[in-house]
Each structure stands twice: as C-alpha cells, then as structure tokens.
Symmetry: C2
Subunit: 459 residues, 2 copies
C-alpha cells in the first residue's frame, strides 16, 4: 500500500484527483487530498473509498510534518512560492515530491541533498511547463539520433476556448488565471517585462509596449490560424534543451487572430497598469476612465478619439472588440480604490467568463527546422544538406467545466509520473524536470490513452 | 549649548554641514556628523572646532540610542526607508527630527505620539520636496488672502547643468541620483508607472510609454525655454495645498528642450528596462545591443534602422544626441550580467558627468491662474472676473562641485529650519511638512541671504 499526499485541490487539480482515485484500486494507493478548504477537497474526491479529504494548512508545521510522514510521495499544487517548506520537509523525511511549477533557485539548491536522500523532486510536469518539455525533447532527441542538426525551435501554447464555444468577438474567454492574462508581459508578471528570443542567429529583445504588436502567425492543422506573442524567456531553453547552436529560438503564447492587436489598445492607452490607483474609481464611468487615459484632443466622442489615437477606423475589428466590452458606456465602475488593471480584470471577468456548457481548449505546437549531417562527398554551399521541417501539435478540448482541457493537460502528467515514480519506472533522483527519455517516453505514451497526443508532420 | 546630530554626510549634505558649522559659534551649537564612512564625515566638517565626525551605523542599536541621547535635534539625511528606526528612537527620547524625505505612511503614524512627546518631526524640507512647498504655499495663501480663487497650479523643478557648463547636445549632465534619471517614470521608480494630473477639470493618466512624448514647454525669465514631463503624482497636491477646486494641477520635471524626445527613443526601444538581464552583456557591443532591441528590418546600418524605427531623419537632433553617446560604436560594453538600464546608466555616467569646473543649476517655477471673487453687481458669463496669472521662479547656480546648487537648495532649508526649531521660532509639534506660514515665511526669508529667492511676476 502506497500513500499519496496531494496538497492543493483547486480548479486545475480536478482531473489529477480523478486519475489518482481511478488508479488507486489497481495500484493499491491511499490518496489524501488536503486543501485550505475542506469543502473543496471533499467535493473533488467524490466519496471515493481510497481517497480522503483533509483541511491542510501548509503554514501549520505540525500538520506539515505529520501528513508528510504518512506519505510515500507528495504532490504539491500550491502556488510556486509555497513549495519550499514542503520540499524541505520531504527532504528530511525522504519522500518524493512532484510539482507542476518551474524549478526555483531554492528548489534547485536541494538537488544534492535530494540525491543523497534517494528521492526525486520532479518539477515542471504539468502542461506548460510539462507537456511542452516532454513533446519537444522527444522530437529533439529523435532528430539528434538520426544525425540532424537543429536550426530552428519554436514552441507555442495557448489556453483558449473551444471553437464550438467561441462566440464573442475576441475569440477568448478566461480558462486559466485571469489576472495573469491582464498583466501578461509586465514586470509585475513573473515572466518579466522584456521578451527575449533568437531570430536568424541574433538575440531580439521586445519591450512590453511592443509585445502585442510583434506577433507571429501560425497554422494548426484542422484548427486553422492562430497568432502568438513572445514569452519572456525563450533563450534559457537553449541550455535546457541542449540546442546551443540553433539560429531561431522562440516560445510564444497563442491567441485567436486579431486578439493581440485589440489587446495592444489597452497597453498603448496604459490601462493595464496595476501600480497606480484610479481616483474615485467607485463612482466614475468606464467611458470617463478611457477618456482620462487618452491624450487631450478636440471634438468627437471618446470612441472617435480612441479610434484616432489607435489609428483605427471607427468600425474596425479592434474597435468592435473594444465596444463589445462596454468600455464606451456611461456605466459606473463601482470598484473601490482600484488600479486600472483591476478595473479591466473585473470587466473582463464578466465578459470573458465561460458559460455552463462552454468547453475550453489547449493548443500546443512545436516547429522545428533541422539539417541532416552533410554528405561529405558533396561540396559547395548549395549542397550542404536540405532544411527539413517538422511540426508537432496537440489540441485538447475540455470534457466539461470540471475536466477542462487545462485540468487534464496539467493534471494527467502529474498523475502519470506519480505512478511511474511509485512503480520505480522512473528511477531518477534529485531535482529533475521531464526533459529525459526515462520520463517523457512513458508519460507521453500513457497520455495517448486520454487522447492527449501530438501529431507530427514531416515536411 | 545645543547638540545637533546629523546622520548621513553624502553629497547633498555639504552645504548643510557648512551652514551648521558656520552658525555653531553664534548659536552655541555642537554638531556631530555621523556617516557610515568616517572619512567622508571628517572631510565635510573640515576640522571645524564645533563639529566632530563619527562613524555611524544606523543599524547599530546601541550607537543609535547613545548618539540620539546626546542630541537635542537629529537631522537624518539617510535614504527615506532608513528614517523609521531613527524616528522611533527620537520619539522615545523626545528629540526633534528633521528630514528632506516624503512623509511615509509609517512616519505619519507617529504624529500623535510626537505631539504627545512635545517634539516636531519636520519632513519634506529640502528642495523637492521642500522649497516647492514653501514657495507655492506662500503664493497660494497670498491669493486666498485677497479673495482669489485658484484655477490653475503648475509646478516645475529640474536639476540641470548651468548654461556656462552646458556643452553637450543633450543639455544635460548628472547632478543628482543618476539611476533615478534612467528609471524615471517606471514602476520600479518610487514615483510609479502612470502619471496623473488634472487638465481642464479632467483627470489625465499618462503611462510610462507616453510620458516623454507628452511634454509641456515653459519659459523662465532670463533662462529661456525648458520642457517638462509630468511627475507621477500631481493629484495628491490638491489636498496637500488645499486646492480642491482647481481645474489644472500639474507637477513636472524640467529638462532642456529636445531632451525628452531623445530620451523617448530609449523608452520606445525598451532599453530602460531594469528587470531583465542582457545575454553576454560583457562581450557584446553597444551597437549590437541597440540592434537587438530594434524590430527586424532589412538593409542599412543600425543607425539607419533606428532612425527609421523612430521616424527620425538620420541627422535629426534626436539622432545626433544618440550618436554622441556612442551607442552606434562597435565597442564592448564590458559589464557583467547587467540589465539594459544598468548598461545605459554606466554609459551615461561616462558621458553626462560634470567636469571639475562645471556648475549645476536648479530651476523651479510655479505657474498660477486665479480669479478674484466676481463683482456681484455684474452679470453674464463673460464678466465673471478676469483670469490673473502669477509665475514664481527660482534659479540657483552651484558655486562649485562641493557647494552645488543641489546641495544648497536641499541643505539650506534643512539647516535654517533646524535653527528655527532650536530657537523656538518654529513651535509646531508632531509630524509636519512646511506648508504653513510659521515655517515658510522665516525659511524663505533666510534663504534670500544665500541668493535663493523667488521672482514673482504678476500678469
């Protein structure tokens, strides 16, 4: 009998908890689901006989020590900043730890000790980070194995609304952390203020103010066109994926075409700022807020002035998107002491919310360019091996509002790797991320049972 | 015999220390100058018989308690975040405290206790904040006294280089905190990311990305034209100065005309960001850094591409300023692990440094519009009292690189108010700022002895 302690039972844990419960009989697991809210934990385990729900407060040391002592493996779904006390206790008690979060500096420092203790601290095994590592490294290793030299790696991921539920002009609804969407690309955002990537062998820096006007278009088979803005940190993946000699290296976030140009209107206005308070935000109206952010100009409605400021026609797609949000309405904001970003977030949460029957969608696509080792018997620049292309793409649609695409793609890699660790199929120790065959092969393989699969196209 | 403890003997304390020494005989003062560097403290007191220098570490509690116990009044020139432990000790020991820093929330909370203890904690009595309060409130109170109703208050201040030392195309050299100049207007800056002011009765918000293209031009008698960008927080001064009904309220920072348009080039590029690291910053060159921040475009030199990006002609004043800095040179940056802002700062400190004989200049100008109470016997909109205008301006030129204009305008109000407190000419208690007659009248009056005077023009 193995004991699994799962800490944090929020939205993204639903499918993971189901996976753990579903496998508990066959695998002989006892699953303890702890959350700061006992109700949420209880609701998620659905009276499953092998699972039980507890109130868990990570700041309660006695409880932390006690619950971890009963477990063979701990899954932490807490916010990334809260993993450390759990990790330190896992180290003391020699318990495995699995998270979907980026490896922090402090987590990294536990590597030697974790190896000594004979345990694995497996991180970045959700969706992004997670499935991106698994699927990218599989192709990268395949290409290397056949003597290919990678030239280009571009990787895109987006949490979107499914086509059948896409019924607003933005082509977007919140399926994930709404605040992160509003402050995406800012310095207050964990991913920082300046995007960095490699283009034609040269580093490119894109500041926040140009991030959403500097997009790429991609095409995903069966699902059509998307646009992507650059994530902050693409360069560090060269080291991570062993791609030291590539000429193009980009990671981006996907949106439906047209989204970024409209979102850029908010950035150019300055209304995504979360660091200042709007005077009298409770009583002013949306339209007066927009006017306050517009440069002084004479005549016309606020809508007309905004169109002029943005160099848009008044009935352009961008202006239609903005209008649909109600920002030109004479309606009170009604939020006390709020920043522009908070006001925007509040409005968007009303307009971009999923309806009860809406489904979400996760799209991930990697694009590779490589050359096979040149045939040494041939000479001349023109014959140095042809550039080959691979695209590898995954589209997952949510089942419903519980087992969303997001919850499936975050939770299943966590659940599957937990099983592989407990069954000693993954024998690695220390602080790891899933960029190695020992992890990505079996996890990708089992993900296919849940219709989470990558389609590779070789061009 | 009165004992004065001055903590922090940095650049801006020079004139203050001279003032305290010069007055010590007549006023019967003993002056203790403490600094983390004993050398700096010693150098500043110049063996004056009534002054002595000590090493002072504000984090050393014993020393803090001991030195404050010997003083009648403490002047803290420490960074604003370090005042609190000094203020708390002053409270315990019932000692007066004088600073040139903005009143923090924590400082404000000491008001009741300071009053109870019978001491004054006088803050914001340097240049800006300081002389701005003194001089603005004098005019505001005068206008109110003659029944005027203020319509417009605009206040500008700049630390610049004196005209005779202005020998570079930017018309600017560092005379104050260089880092603050590079990150001015950003959210990392203490003054925040979005400027707020009142224009024609409406609040205007200006985000960082438009701050330096949204400038005002002003004219200062004998010194000609300046341009100003908006400080973050103009609205809070309506409360502070009792100007609840004004239609225009703006505080701005002065530069030589043309500066802001050129500085805006760096902001549009994104090169003022202090939150990301430039890859391999030690070995790359300035020109390659600029290229990395430019959008991809074909053909031509980096200079040509930048001109195109900025919609400038290649020989425009903006491009000449940029060129003069050497940013198009194939020269190694030579700075390890640095942010773009740090690289820019390092370069600017070489180019914008004062030469040994250079003098600095402080310019402050307030602009007021008001109406006298309308003559009730007249009717009709057109006759509601004429708009009157006042400008009140001060220009101070530094004597040399020790008694700079900055050091004089920051230090003398501190010194003079210290004297007024010890002589009980200022009898106020509690946490104060110098917006009241009891303070501004005698301080402004003595400042004139040092040629620091405002010229009022009534139009």
């Amino acid at each position: 009998m193995k004991n699994i302690l799962l800490i944090g039972a929020g939205r993204s844990a639903s499918t993971l908890i189901k996976y753990l419960s579903d496998n508990s009989q066959k695998e002989n697991w006892k699953v303890t689901v702890g959350d700061i809210s006992e109700d949420i934990a209880k609701q998620k385990i659905k009276n499953h006989p092998n699972s039980h729900a507890i109130v868990f407060d990570v700041n309660n040391e006695d409880q932390r020590v006690g619950e971890i002592s009963k477990a063979d493996l701990v899954i932490s779904m807490l916010p990334a900043t809260m993993h450390l006390s759990v990790a330190q206790e896992c180290l003391k008690q020699k318990k495995h730890l699995v998270t979907a979060s980026y490896v922090s500096k402090q987590m990294k420092e536990l590597d030697t000790e974790a190896k000594k203790a004979g345990v694995i601290f497996l991180n970045e095994i959700g969706l992004d980070p997670g499935i991106d590592h698994l699927s990218a490294m599989k192709v990268i290793d395949d290409v290397k194995a056949k003597g290919g030299k990678m030239i280009t790696f571009k990787s895109y991921c987006g949490g979107l609304v499914a086509p059948e539920s896409n019924d607003n002009p933005w082509g977007y609804k919140f399926t994930w952390n709404p605040r992160a969407v509003v402050i995406a690309g800012q310095s207050g955002d964990a991913t920082g203020a300046t995007a960095q990537y490699l283009q034609n062998g040269k580093i490119k820096y894109i500041p926040y103010t140009r991030l959403f006007s500097n997009t790429e278009n991609i095409s995903v088979e069966k699902y059509g066109k998307f646009e992507a803005y650059a994530n902050r940190d693409s360069l560090s993946y060269m080291e991570l994926y062993g791609l030291h000699d590539v000429k193009n290296m980009l990671r981006g976030t996907l949106r439906i075409p047209g989204f970024c140009r409209a979102w850029n209107a908010f950035i150019q206005l300055g209304i995504t700022d979360d660091n200042c308070n709007v005077s009298n935000s409770e009583n002013i109206t949306y339209v007066s807020l927009i006017e306050s952010f517009l440069p002084e100009s004479k005549g016309g409605s606020v809508k007309k002035k905004l169109a002029k400021f943005l160099h848009e026609k008044e009935n352009s797609p961008v202006m239609k998107k903005l209008d649909w949000l109600g920002i030109f309405k004479n309606q009170k904001i009604g939020l006390h002491d709020s920043s522009p970003a908070e006001i925007l977030l509040d409005l968007l949460m009303k307009k971009w919310s999923l309806k009860p029957d809406d489904k979400d969608m996760v799209v991930m696509q990697h694009e590779f360019e490589y050359k096979l080792t040149p045939n040494l018997s041939l000479r001349g620049d023109g014959r140095r091996g042809e550039v080959k292309r691979i695209t590898s793409s995954m589209v997952v649609i949510g089942d419903n509002q519980i087992n969303t695409a997001m919850s499936k793609t975050v939770g299943l890699p966590l659940g599957i790797s937990t099983k592989l660790i407990l069954n000693e199929k993954i024998k690695l120790k220390g602080v790891c991320i899933p960029t190695v065959k020992e992890i990505y092969n079996p996890v990708l393989s089992e993900l296919e049972n849940f219709s989470i699969r990558f389609i590779e196209k070789h061009h």
